[in-house]
Amino acid sequence: MTAYPRWKAFLVIIVLIVSFIYSLPNFYPSFPAIEISHEKNNANENKITKNIIQNLKIENIINKNNKLILKFNNTEDQLKAYRALQNSKIQEPFTLTTYNDIPSWLTSINAYPMFLGLDLKGGVHFLLQVDKNNIQKNLLREIEVDTKKILIKNKYRYQSFNKIDNKIIINFKDDKFINEAINKINESFNDEIATKDTSTNLNSINISLSQASIDRDITSAISKNLTILRSRVDELGVAQPILQRQGKDRIIVQLPGLQDSTRAKGILGSTATLEFRLTKGTPEDWYNSKLSGIPTVNSSALYFARDKSPILLSRKVVVAGDDIKNANTGFDSATNTPAVFVRLSDYGASRMLDTTKKNIGNRMAVIFVEKNKQEVINVAVIREAFSQSFQITGLDMKEAQDLSILLRSGALRAPMEIVEERTVGPSLGKANILSGKNSMYFGLFLVGLFMFIYYRLFGVIANIALVANIIIIISILSIFQATLTLSGIAGIVLTVGMAVDANVLIFERIREEIMNGNSPNASISSGYQKAFSTISDANITTLIAAIALLTIGTGAVKGFAVTLVIGIMSSMFTSIVGTRALVSIIYENKDSKRLSI
């Protein structure tokens, strides 16, 4: 038998060793855990943390790299402890994670386990869609303001300026300025949005939004919202969240391991923010306004507190959410009630200082603004001037925590609506992964048994290649940190079938060659050679189909295609190159009379 190139055997060995190492992390057990960071003071010494740990009888505590990791045996215990921490007055940030007992030498070479999809792990899936109407409305408002400026600056006198639906209609007395105005407007927006109205005899200009400008705004809103959502999700303390843009105007958010979808939902879609305004009039005025339904004091607006009591507020906003730089939750030292500690930007701080200086003894209100709801959460007398940092009370702990997350992450560029929501329970996930695994093992066992009975030694070689193939697929999925879903497992199943097929094709060819009276070694050579074009044609065709699915498909189809693409490549490698190396090691230099096939 002609010598098989040494470098090929060498390549196979190297690929196998690397794959084996990178697939290793998947075999270490993982535990639900809570991570508590403690930068300065040691959390172990922290009384509150210590109390909680003692009360809940948490035994598995790992202390490393300024982090305290509490290990649990199940998610129920984990969530119980998490709630206890939330209700406590703990200062250190803490998050829900999954802890793997992976040795540090593995993590130092970036070997991590593969991600498991929601269907395997449990969790929440959201699909958020940007509110197109809102974007159009805002865009039109901007255009309105700018257009008015242009008209006034150039002294184009108009008779009326109307906004109807998604259109602006400007009427003029005559057509003197019309063309000039149209040019100026289009020039300033760099877009052909203004046209002369030809449908009526009136001298008017129509301004309508171009699809391109709406698309542009949606794109920029989506990418901004993605950043904001990511920081919100990080604050929720979910391990390995997945945030992806889908299509033109949607964002997918997947939060594995999260069970409480209501909170996530509230935080993801929320446009909540704060406003600070001065009050107007006296409490007497406030009640009179409530009775009459209209504000009795000039330039004021009627607001309501949480207990439905009326308050008159100035129409002027002193500081809004955009001016808040940072927000944290804690407890008010005097009353021991939950509080949000707010830090303003320099601009906000100077405005706040000016206002409070002039209004000592007056009242200031904090308003919670969300979509169409405005609610006064706190009214307090200004006792002294303040600027950058202060605290707000009047919320419960949960609200305070959620609000500070929202203030820290900033307001969404455009509101988003949740159009799809799925919750997968962890028990379903657990059952799925277990039955999926078991059925896979059993199926593989049957295939292996059959191959051994049918092809003897060559069958054993094919089985070794099959195991190697699976290890390579797992390691590639782990290296790219791809997400393994149920349909992904299905893709692996198909790959296993095709890998076996490649070996069957080769072995059947070798058998044919032996039948034709060729020597064992010659049969091996020509068997591999002749089967190669068949295998490659068959695999490449399937690969083409898989790539088509990968680029077009979404969700389950995509998950299937990813593993199929990886699987086809690795199965071609193991079943052609890999088995060839093994066969040549066994039969090379030996003048065998018969093959065990």
């Binding site: 699909l127 159009v419 799809e420 929501e421 799925r422 997968v424 329970g425 028990s427 379903l428 059952a431 039955s435 999926g436 078991n438 059925s439 896979m440 059993f442 199926g443 593989l444 049957l446 295939v447 059959f450 009975i453 049918y454 149920l486 349909s487 497992i489 299905a490 893709g491 199943v493 198909l494 296993v496 079938g497 095709m498 076996v500 097929d501 059947e508 058998r511 044919e512 002749k530 068949t534 044609d537 068959a538 695999n539 065709t541 399937t542 083409i544 189909a545 898989a546 088509a548 699915l549 077009i552 498909g553 979404t554 969700g555 389950a556 189809v557 299937f560 295609a561 199929l564 096939i597």
Partner: protein
Amino acid sequence: MFKLINTNSNYDFLRKKTIAMIFSLALIILSLGSFVTQGLNWGIDFSSGYIVQLKFNQDLDINNIRNNFIDNGVNDSVIQYFGSNQEIIIKLQEDSNFNEESINNFLINTLQDYSFEIIKLEFVGSQIGSELREKGEWAMLVAILSILIYIGFRFEFLYGIGAIIALIHDVLITLGIFSIFQLQFDLSVLSALLAVIGYSLNDTIVVYDRIRENSTLIHEEDFTKILNVSINQTLSRTIITSLTTLFVLTSLLILGGAAVQYFALAMIIGIFIGTYSSIYIASSSLSFLGVGNKSE
């Protein structure tokens, strides 16, 4: 050597090509008839509504649950066992009266005699459903076209047509069986169908490859003889591969749990049809299309 198929097998597959064609045509007509009359039983992935999975502490009679639902005014829901007879999955059509909270209340009211736990509560909007459907169909069309181009390039254009005929044959009949028996068609079945396309192609190409090889090796005037020889030579491989793949899929069907059962079922049906078509239909269509005539 342990063999399933005699090495010197010499079955005259092509002689039965008329019977095979009639059989396949009958199946296709039956499938198309079923599409028209009852259509597919679209799973929640493709239609809009809520899907609720409940786990009970006792064995259930699903008819009682169905009656409970109808008594409470919901009669367009689909209720099925899921995995065991202690778990059910309920599909509720989208309805403006329903949201997650009202479903919760509805369930508590309707099933007040039972103690149960909600394992899953999903909503799929209609828009998303139709988009998924469109994308799935698109994906399949592009896949078929690119395959046609590749085979045309590697073999001959007519071989490409033959492979596509076999492929459409397999997909249509697999879908037809899902329609006739009103099995749920969800995304996992779509995945399976795509896998069936891959599998069917794989099978067809192995046979075609042999035909191509034999066309140059055997100087035979009768093209059907070349076809028969090629099918016989690849027969044991076709059977063995189908068998090993069926091992994995059958264990997936039996042990894999409810979530993958339709995937496995679709693939098993597809593989039976695919194996049959790669033996009878793929090569019959070559002779039907007139491949090999020009060499005469």
